[in-house]
Subunit: 251 residues, 2 copies
Amino acid sequence: MNERIWTAGMVVIGDEILSGRTQDRNVAQLASWLNVQGIRLAEARVVSDREDAIVEAVNTLMARNDYCFTTGGIGPTHDDITVDAVAAALGVGVVVHPQARAVLEAYYESRGGLTEARLRMARVPEGAELIPNRMSGAPGIRIGRLFILAGVPHIAAGMLDALTGTLEGGRPVLSRTIGCWIAESEVADMLRAVEKAHEGVSIGSYPFFREGRVGANFVVRATEDALLDRCANDLMARLEAEGRTAVPGGI
Amino acid sequence: MNERIWTAGMVVIGDEILSGRTQDRNVAQLASWLNVQGIRLAEARVVSDREDAIVEAVNTLMARNDYCFTTGGIGPTHDDITVDAVAAALGVGVVVHPQARAVLEAYYESRGGLTEARLRMARVPEGAELIPNRMSGAPGIRIGRLFILAGVPHIAAGMLDALTGTLEGGRPVLSRTIGCWIAESEVADMLRAVEKAHEGVSIGSYPFFREGRVGANFVVRATEDALLDRCANDLMARLEAEGRTAVPGGI
């Protein structure tokens, strides 16, 4: 059974990430959300606030994936150039979206009014729809299979929430974690053998050092529940056969 | 004065980042370290544990930048393929590095001995040197201007520490942060004007919502201290002229 795999690319926009000032949280957040939609994050790129850098990343990731998401650069200041860059990538103009303008007018009515700078946040690539933002004024933007989200993680989260269930995807990737107090180098051959024995499964190994001891969590991933069970049980049985305690759920 | 700007690209390798299981910390860590070396992180790409994805990212970022760094995928398990992928990207073979072998032999002497799986961690692209790792057994790898670091952040940090001061760079990017309890949309025009008035400076605006109020930190960046001072003072004066309190160091 060869099922279609749906993928997404992601462009994280912002000098604040590349300067080390801000720790990105949107890659992990988007990846987890995509999993539930049955879509895999295939690649993420962090690029600076430069139009050519954004255009190149958006074009490449759009061509390779079913969906493309950007985060960051949609505020009112001079370094917020995502809308213009995406419009350039798509070869369309930039227009003021009447509904976005109305949303911002309402939002800023009690906050000093809609200035020229704030009106920038109503600009969208031609042909775009809005993604609701319940947290602050500026909405997210959808143009077909491209999604422009906020950079502030909790605002991006609200936009993803509004998109939940609206994107076509495949079966969600399911996972089981098995923990063990063992050096991963002792079970490298075992992991390779188990992965090989169960087609359609991938196993990741995540070592840690805690309480003065080494251990690892093994994450088994597949889209089919029964297959996942078989593989996880196989791995646990092999660990136990070596006299180790396998901890379902991980350590 | 046009000084040479040194740049680096970064390839973050690992399905655990793209699945959302693990929050990457190496982009921020490497970026901050590079700043101090006078090198700017120009782009970071997060790719999966697939050779073709790694090869493409490494080749592209090597061609565009003075340096390239990878993190992740250098452990002993089947999903650790960074060394093979980098060797393929460079068009060289993979060899066991005698010094890495000796390091691992010593490290595993009291930990069950050097198995076949553990010996994988002594494999390097032909012509490589080692980067010391004081935290655990496996060393990092340097091949000319390409650096292969561990994925576990504190191990990567140790490797960067060992590299400190060994890479040629330009003047470090300096920054000053100025905080203000103001909506960034109210000062968008001011920021644009200040940036324009001081050539060689970039200003980032980072809004926040705290204690029920909106505010923003403005980060002024430049390589010249006097220029930075002039620009920061100009911005503070303009904020104060609007009756706002500018907080040096940020809020």
